[in-house]
Amino acid sequence: MIRQSHSRFAAFMRAWALRRHGPVHSLTLTQNRIYILPTRAGFWFLVTSLIILLLGVNYENNLVYGASFLLLSLFVISILHTYSNLAGLSITALGARPCLVGEQAEFELLLRAGSHRDYEAIQLSWVDQAPVSCDLIGDSERRVRLYARAPQRGWWRPGPLLVETLYPLGLLRAWTWLETDLRALAWPRPLPGDSLPAGSGSDGSGALLDGRGSEDFLGLEAYQRGMSPRHIAWKQLAAGQGLHAKQFGDQADRQLWLDFDLWPELDSESRLSRLCYWTLRLARERVEYGLRLPGVEIPPGRGERHRQEVLRALALYGKGSR
């Protein structure tokens, strides 16, 4: 009950704080952004100080009074310290990497210290996501990676960013909400399907890809990240010739079209998911493939850039260009 009303209050505060300011690319935290309230630990600290005060009152002991006053003063001083642990901090949204729906997208932020001060134990988190702790001790800027689960296909925003700190004594929590202009692209969630139906081949022969596509060995090429580990030339690696990938001829010959109409039995989201699955798979197997969606046609190609283009088209299909 209390927890519920507490979280409702937090949500209200968040909404209010965010209404006051629009999305930003880069922001320096100042007093009109930073909120500060005692934590539960701070509340118990105050209770402890008051119990000590009661002890002083009852025993008419001025030193115990003094101890209690010292703790209360400590609380007051720590308000400033907690506040200053956020004040002047600059947060810049750097960018985001695309990912599949349901996976964790990576966002990159840059924290920069104002006026060469130290910032310690600052927690960054998206709403309802695990926080990431970071410091600026000794260096004046630091990149922070935050992750959030991609909820749906297309462009999406991770929601407001919570920047908070309990440092130095945990008695108070200073925090701010800010809406960054970060957005990430979420590709459709892959829907595995064992084979490409007939009619996907460019020559119309209806040949099915056997899924391995590794018949004719052509030669070696330098291994690059993203290539299938199955194609690593282990023998050459063991001989100390470096990391190479085997090249197979049949992939170079084939051209496949991934077509929206290949799976008439599926609804359109599932079709996109299936297309995504095949895109990833064909890219991994270095087959040339093209994409046909209603209104979109990407000619067959290969490579990372091509893959990104295809996936992007899948992610944005029917979503407008934004």
Partner: protein, 657 residues
């Protein structure tokens, strides 16, 4: 959202340190096994941290908790509430150590530590105690900070620095709160911390009691004269109680509770006003100069013109007293009072009775009786703190056999003789003398200055003070006790290292007086601050009002907080530029004046190239600077020759500018 929080190693070390520091002063009072248990828990926790063992099973902890609880109750007893509470808290504290692994557990431990550190002040209130507790609070705060310290940058020293930066500005705030916040009386009866200890005089006097007191240099009370005049040493008789009833061996203090005497009887004269801080004695007596005429609440005047507190003094107390110095206390004696002050046991001490009878037959006047007794004492009696033991007829033995004794012997012999001769007399117990502290202008009366003398009732004059000890050893009254008694074997036997012993070494004595003066100010201005808060605030602010107090609170708070905020937000990391960098910085600043400053993050080589392009005449020099800089910084050629070449290149550049 909140994951399980593992204590970092510095946080753990700080916690253990904090536990030790909080425990040390308490452990002297606790049953011996509790500190041992705490040490065991600390050891166990360390082993857990090192991975040698694991946290004990909950049943083990449960068993330990039960055992510790029962043990504490058994060895302290339920009657002693606060001690028991502290012992139980300490036991819980030690056991909690065996389960700190989450942030919340650590916080419980830290908050209890704050509380335990504060309770230490209930048991001792010296300046040293206060400083120790302050240190403990600092370390606990460091431990708290260590819990919230970044897990990526664990560090042992940073929490201490953070705690200092938090606590130092908190001190002035505490001072302001201490001054301003009104004190209220106890909300409910709180049992005292000290065990019932009785020091100072007792309610019976048998010659020999006082000798125990001379063994102690503990403070009895301190007096500050507010009327300005300080009585000379020979007149510093602090009356506490009278011994009226003699049972043959012992004198008993009067115990009736009749109505107080009428004060109007006293003749007029100058008044002595003074403020007394009296140490806890476990007795209700408050010592006043002859004769108190008024005293602050809640003191009560007893019929024998002495002052009583409403209950035994178990805490340091402070009273304002007014006395009128008089030679005699004009008080009429009723029949019953007369018979009480003539009381003697039916038999015993026959030779003393016979002597008194003989003197009375020769001359019945009170003066002559007193004079003859004092003359007797003066002839061949010796003042000593270690008199021989007396038999069943103690007065006889003293008067006719041993003839050695101290104030109690002389007073009881004189009172006995006078009563036997039909003159009302009583023994007064109190203190005589006091040491003047020139640094803080107050009189310090110690236990070894306890004294006994006699009051004799003269028809028509009333009670007159007669100090038989003065007849034997006038120095006892005129000098301070430590000067007189220093060579006596019994003197200060309880405190062999008391600084009073070394009173004859001048600088040491001055040092002692200074320390005493600090103690006195500490007592006056801190420990009994609640007694003078109102007066002080009125002196500072005139008529008190709520808004004045609010202002007095808000203004210093504003100043301190403003200063802290400024220093926090302006704070910069110390620049740690070495000679190489600072020389380059100087050069780039000089060039910057001509629009050729080094840009943020610009490598030295590129910068030098840019400068060379803009200022061709500098080209060889600036390129040399960059080359040497690279050698020093990146090529590992950090030797003196390169440094010298670098410096010279920079200097040459500067000359060209």
């Amino acid at each position: 959202m909140k994951g399980v929080y593992q204590l970092t190693r510095p946080a753990l070390v700080w916690q253990l340190l904090m536990v030790v520091v909080v425990m040390i002063p308490h452990s002297l009072r606790l049953p011996w096994w509790l500190p041992l248990m705490t040490l065991g828990a600390i050891g166990w926790r360390l082993l857990v941290h090192l991975g040698r063992t694991s946290f004990p099973h909950w049943s083990v902890k449960f068993l330990m908790a039960i055992t510790a609880g029962i043990g504490a109750v058994a060895s302290i007893g339920r009657g002693n509430g606060p001690e028991l509470a502290v012992a139980l808290l300490v036991a819980g504290f030690a056991l909690k150590l065996l389960e700190i692994y989450k942030r919340r557990d650590a916080l419980v431990l830290i908050y209890v530590a704050y509380f335990l550190a504060a309770t230490e002040l209930l048991f001792g209130q010296t300046l040293l105690h206060a400083l120790y507790v302050l240190l403990a609070l600092l370390l606990i705060t460091a431990a708290l900070n260590a819990v919230y310290q970044s897990e990526r940058h664990p560090d042992f020293r940073r929490p201490l620095r953070a705690a200092l930066r938090l606590l130092l500005p908190a001190l002035p705030l505490m001072l302001v709160l201490f001054l301003i916040v009104p004190r209220i009386g106890p909300l409910w009866y709180a049992p005292m911390m000290q065990e019932e200890s009785v020091t100072g005089l007792s309610d019976t006097l048998s010659p020999g009691d006082v000798s125990q007191l001379t063994g102690s240099s503990a403070v009895a009370f301190r007096v500050e004269f507010t009327s300005g005049r300080v009585p000379p040493p020979a007149q510093r008789y602090w009356r506490g109680l009278t011994y009226d009833y003699f049972d043959g061996r012992r004198w008993q203090a009067e115990s009736d509770r009749r109505t107080p005497p009428e004060l109007s009887d006293l003749p007029s004269g100058p008044l002595l006003r003074y403020q007394m801080i009296i140490e806890p004695s476990g007795q209700p007596w408050v010592y006043a100069l002859d004769y108190p005429v008024s005293a602050s609440w809640p003191l009560r005047m007893a019929p024998n013109w002495t002052l009583r507190a409403p209950s035994r003094l178990r805490q340091r107390a402070e009273f304002a007293l007014v006395s009128r110095p008089l030679d005699a206390l004009p008080q009429a004696l009723s029949e019953s009072a007369q018979s009480r002050y003539l009381q003697l046991p039916a038999s015993g001490n026959p030779r003393a009775r016979e002597l008194a009878q003989r003197w009375r037959d020769e001359d019945a006047s009170v003066d002559s009786l007193v004079t003859r007794t004092l003359a007797l004492f003066n002839r061949d009696f010796v003042y000593t703190l270690s008199p021989p033991r007396l038999g069943a007829d103690g007065i006889d033995d003293f008067l006719f056999e041993t003839r050695r004794g101290f104030c109690g012997h002389y007073a009881s012999a004189l009172a006995f003789l006078l009563r036997a001769a039909g003159v009302p007399a009583r023994i007064v117990g109190g203190y005589q003398g006091g040491e003047w502290n020139p640094y803080e202008s107050y009189l310090l009366i110690r236990q070894y200055e306890a004294h006994a003398w006699v009051e004799v009732w003269y028809a028509g004059r009333g009670w007159v003070r007669v100090d038989p000890t003065a007849a034997v050893a006038p120095q006892r009254v005129e000098q301070t006790a430590d000067q007189l008694l220093a060579d006596e074997p019994g003197f200060l036997s309880d405190t062999p290292l008391s600084p009073v012993r070394f009173g004859r070494i001048n600088w040491l004595n001055q040092l002692r007086l200074r320390v005493e003066a600090i103690n006195y100010s500490w007592h006056r201005w801190v420990l009994s601050f609640h007694l003078r808060q109102d007066a002080l605030l009125q002196r500072l602010f005139g008529e008190l009002s709520l808004w004045k107090l609010a202002l007095a609170l808000a203004l210093p708070f504003g100043l301190v907080l403003g200063w802290v905020a400024l220093s926090l937000l302006r704070q910069r990391r110390p620049k740690t530029l070495d000679k190489v960098d600072s020389a380059l910085l100087r050069l780039s600043q000089r060039l910057g004046a001509q629009g050729l400053g080094r840009r943020n993050g610009e490598p030295v080589g590129l910068y030098a190239a840019r400068v060379a392009e803009a200022r061709p005449e500098l080209e060889p020099l600036i390129l040399a600077v960059a080359r040497h800089y690279d050698q020093l910084r990146y090529a590992g050629h950090d030797d003196n020759a390169v440094r010298r070449a670098y410096r010279e290149a920079i200097r040459a550049c500067m000359r060209r500018l």
